[in-house]
């Protein structure tokens, strides 16, 4: 009686072995490191590796190792001081086209990494960093989209000789069009419905002395607009976060109108906010072909022109007068030109912009048109040992292309080097015409010292609570208590292994969840042991007591754990960030405790007591 089959033991040993394997990486310390990634057109390659290692050698900075990954280069150092020194050196040697981020790289040994074992991901409250929740102003996105139709509506009505009085924004949203009389209104309605499929046109009976129409974006279009606004903002935020030089940033959509930005390790929130909130615009200007750009570089800038630099660094002279700004761009998409097979970017302008564009390009066919990307950036630089905030306006000519014909509402930019460049240009054009304002509605910043504090305190309380329970169990249940303690220790290992395997984020509430599971995991064993004691009191033999103790306690344990799991799942689905962490560890803890408290202890009990005559049980 009370014997486990070999396969059950093998199963237990296998699971425990896997648990230990995946929990192991957490024991290794992390290396301070630099993570170098390319921004823009450049790439991280062996060449970069060579460049960086030469620069570090020249500066006399020792590093542990250097490794080229898929998209980035990781250099490990022995301590944080060297890491910081190296950052300055590397930044100087690589220049603007690369971003250098401070990071803590996991020092998982290769043989472990081969199994895919990685340490747990530490949450911002443990490693320090910034969490922003940003709201995209969707009303503004929609009203901006509607505004674009205003001028289009005016011109189409005028062209078709429909007499309207005014077109204004309605307070309740939509565009209000006042007509001279009902006849004009009716023909206006048919005209608008024919021309603008995206608009919903309704009659307004309100002010009965006037004939009015209300034009609103169709539900479908509104949703599209909002989706686009969100995507554009996420793209822009990505680009800016890259500039910040943050390792492992998280930029994620949350709900329909929000974006979560998490920047581990960032402490200067002021800088982060400024860069995330930087505004970017676009300008179209004609290239000044009459003067040589080199003269301007030497200091002789012609009146009426302004000196710019292209992205590669070549100087270019542009006319001072702005032809068009980025506000007029509705959309920009990259693609392949059907005729030439070359990569291109198709730009769509709004009505007003199209008119200006066509007027300006009519007389300038054959000349070059430049697109200038302007970004207002705030940078923190060190001056005389002090950190100074510097506002900087970056103006960069991203493209200068020859005008082939008179341009209108939709036109193409060709002559791009690669499809990658076309994509980047389309992205910049869209980003420049930032579709909707975005603002911070939630911020959680944890300084680095507090993060370390939280780790220390969290682990301390887990260890102390754990030790207290171990002592109590050993004293109260003797041999069985020791068996339960083995199970409890395994439970802890399994939770850590599961968290590492899922690459779940460990937060402070997550640690609290682990502590709570430690307390509750014992419950299953208490239930079993009390049941065994009861059976013995009722005069049953020790073997029979063990058997029925486990048997009878099982359904109770299952019921109790399932109900707790329900509560944990609800927590998970409603909770945000930190609460989710708590729910995750609680659920994992419940599941793994079912295995350790029932199967593992039974296996040990059977191993010790099974298959022999017993007179007494030490319980």
């Amino acid at each position: 009686m009370n014997r486990y089959s070999p396969w059950k033991y093998s199963f237990i040993i296998l699971l425990v072995g896997l648990g230990v394997l995946f929990a192991l990486p957490n024991l290794y310390d992390k290396d301070p490191s630099l993570q170098i990634s390319a921004s823009g057109a450049s790439e991280v390659s062996e060449l970069t590796e060579f460049q960086v290692s030469t620069a570090l050698e020249e500066a006399g900075i020792a590093f542990k190792s250097m490794k080229v990954g898929l998209e980035n280069l990781t250099i490990r150092f022995n301590d944080t001081e060297t890491q910081l020194k190296a950052k300055t050196v590397v930044e100087k040697s690589l220049g603007r086209n690369y971003s250098v981020a401070l990071n803590l790289a996991a020092a998982t040994p290769d043989w472990l990494a081969k199994f895919g074992a990685e340490p747990m991901f530490l949450g911002l409250d443990l490693r320090g960093g910034v969490h922003f929740l940003m709201q995209v102003d969707m009303e503004a996105a929609v009203s901006k989209a509607e505004d674009r139709y205003m001028s289009d509506l005016r011109s189409i009505l005028r062209e078709n000789k429909v007499r309207y009085k005014t077109i204004t924004r309605s307070k309740e949203g939509g565009l209000l069009i006042r007509f001279k009389d009902d006849d004009q209104r009716n023909s206006g309605q048919t005209l608008i419905e024919d021309e603008f499929q995206e608009l919903d046109v309704t009659l307004l009976e309100a002010g009965s002395d006037e004939s009015q129409l209300l034009a609103k974006l169709k539900e479908q279009v509104v949703l599209e607009t909002q989706k686009l606004a969100l995507q554009q903002n996420i793209t822009t935020l990505r680009k800016r976060v890259n500039e910040l030089g943050v390792a492992e940033p998280v930029i994620q959509q949350q709900g329909l109108s929000r974006v979560v930005v998490q920047l581990p390790g960032v402490q200067d929130t002021a800088k982060a906010k400024n860069i995330l909130g930087a505004t970017a615009t676009l300008e179209f200007r004609m290239v000044d072909e009459d003067h040589a750009a080199q003269d301007a570089v030497d200091g002789r800038v012609p009146a009426g022109s302004k000196l710019y630099y292209q992205r590669g660094g070549q100087p270019i002279l542009l006319e001072k007068q702005v032809m068009l700004t980025g506000d007029s761009i509705i959309d920009a998409a990259s693609g392949i030109d059907g005729l030439s097979g070359q990569p291109n970017v198709t730009i769509t302008l709004d009505g007003k912009g199209a008119k200006r564009m066509s007027a300006a390009t009519r007389d300038n066919v054959g000349k070059r048109l430049a697109v200038v990307f302007i970004e207002n950036k705030v940078e923190v630089v060190e001056e005389n040992g002090e950190l100074v905030e510097k506002k900087e306006i970056i103006e960069e000519v991203i493209n200068a292309a020859v005008i082939r014909e008179q341009l209108g509402k939709r036109f193409q930019i060709t002559g791009l080097e690669s499809t990658k460049e076309a994509r980047t240009l389309a992205l910049l054009l869209r980003a420049g015409a930032l579709a909707a304002p975005i603002y911070i509605i939630e911020e959680r910043t944890v300084g680095p010292s507090l993060g370390q504090d939280n780790i220390d305190k969290g682990f301390n309380s887990v260890l102390i609570g754990f030790a207290l329970v171990l002592v109590f169990m050993a004293v109260y249940y003797k041999v069985f208590g020791l068996i339960a303690n083995v199970a409890l220790a395994l439970n802890l290992v399994l939770i850590v292994a599961l968290l590492s395997l899922l690459q779940a984020t460990l937060t402070l509430p997550g640690i609290a969840g682990i502590v709570l599971t430690v307390g509750m995991a014992v419950d299953a064993n208490v239930l079993i042991f009390e049941r065994i004691r009861e059976e013995i009191r009722n005069g049953n033999s020790p073997q029979a007591s063990i058997h029925s103790g486990y048997e009878k306690a099982f359904s109770t344990i299952a019921d109790a754990n399932i109900t707790t799991l329900i509560a944990a799942l609800v927590l998970f689905s409603f909770g945000t960030g930190p609460i989710k962490g708590f729910a995750v560890t609680l659920s994992l803890g419940i599941l793994s405790s079912m295995f350790t408290a029932i199967m593992v202890t039974r296996g040990l009990v059977n191993l010790i007591y099974g298959g022999r005559r017993l007179d007494k049980l030490k319980i």
Partner: protein, 311 residues
């Protein structure tokens, strides 16, 4: 067959009237306090800004108050956090201020006063987000209770489900009441703790109910009151041992877990104590008062038997 021997032999059910009075008093006090005083919501729910600053040496709060009093942050609430080196500054949400800038301004004001400070934590929650978190929290509580009700009703019987939910509502109300009376901060982690309390207290209740069900099947010549009494006594040592081990780890969390986790641990300790009490003096009496009998549990058994014989 004789009733099983038990280590304890308390007559819990004869004292259920006393339990009723105690629980009612506690619940009434909680409701009164919550309607008069409300809960001291943390910025998670009210919105606003919270800044934790670490000083290199102990600092006088009045100095900080003076340096902030001449600024636009006159309404700031300033208090120590854990030690005299650590200060917590709270700024209520306000219309005129650019929320994202508040923390930067305050930090530079404090630095300007010549102190050597270190930013430890900044939390800013927009009023709209706070409102949503409150709604979501309430919804979470309701959904958790609903899910549990359905599970218990299916696994046991409707009357048991009512008893279990009564105990849970009892626990939640009294824990909230204690937070209201003591003016402890009620933030997101406390909400999580209360949901964990729901899970824990339910654990206790289910263990008792499981035994009640078993005894109804096994012991034929006993009244319902006797069955509940025996079941409570049989599970009592388990109830006490589990509460004790859970309280041991919670005490460790409370003492060594640091300030941030304090209110979380407090809520759980209160909840575990009340949950242990309620599984004896609320869940069982309510189920009993609803007139649970042996016959109520028979159909469940039949269904189970039918299922077993299915191929």
């Amino acid at each position: 067959m004789e009733m099983q021997k038990t280590r304890f032999n308390f007559d819990f059910m004869s004292k259920r009237k006393i339990g009723l009075v105690v629980s009612s008093l506690l619940i009434i006090m909680s409701i009164i306090s919550m309607s008069l005083e409300g809960l001291t919501f943390g910025i998670d729910f009210t919105g606003g800004t919270l800044i934790e600053v670490g000083y290199s040496e102990s600092v006088n709060l009045d100095t900080i108050r003076t340096s902030l009093s001449n600024s636009e942050f006159k309404d700031a609430i300033i208090q120590y956090f854990g030690s005299a080196n650590d200060v917590l500054i709270r700024i209520p949400p306000s219309e005129g201020l650019n929320n994202a800038d508040i923390s930067n301004k305050i930090l530079s004001l404090l630095e300007g006063a010549g102190a050597n400070i270190e930013m430890r934590r900044i939390e800013f929650v927009g009023p709209q987000v706070g409102e949503e978190l409150k709604d979501d929290g309430g919804l979470a509580m309701i959904y958790a209770l609903m899910g549990i009700f359905i599970y218990v009703a299916l696994r046991f019987q409707r009357r048991f489900a009512v008893g279990a939910i009564a105990a849970l509502v009892h626990d939640v109300l009294i824990t909230l009441g204690i937070f209201s009376i003591t003016h402890f901060d009620f933030d997101l982690t406390v909400l999580a703790a209360i949901l964990a309390v729901i899970g824990y207290s339910l654990n206790d209740t289910i263990v008792v109910f499981d035994r009640v069900r078993e005894n109804f099947h096994k012991v034929r010549e006993a009244t319902s009151v006797e069955i509940f009494n025996v079941s409570l006594n049989q599970t009592l040592s388990r109830t006490l041992v589990t509460s004790l081990t859970t309280l041991l780890v919670l005490a460790a969390l409370f003492i060594f877990g640091g300030e941030i986790i304090h209110s979380f641990a407090t809520a759980l300790i209160i909840g575990v104590l009340i949950g242990t009490y309620s599984s004896i003096f609320v869940a069982s009496p309510v189920t009993l008062a609803l007139g649970i009998t042996r016959e109520d549990l028979m159909p469940v058994q039949k269904e189970g038997a039918d299922l077993d014989t299915m191929p």
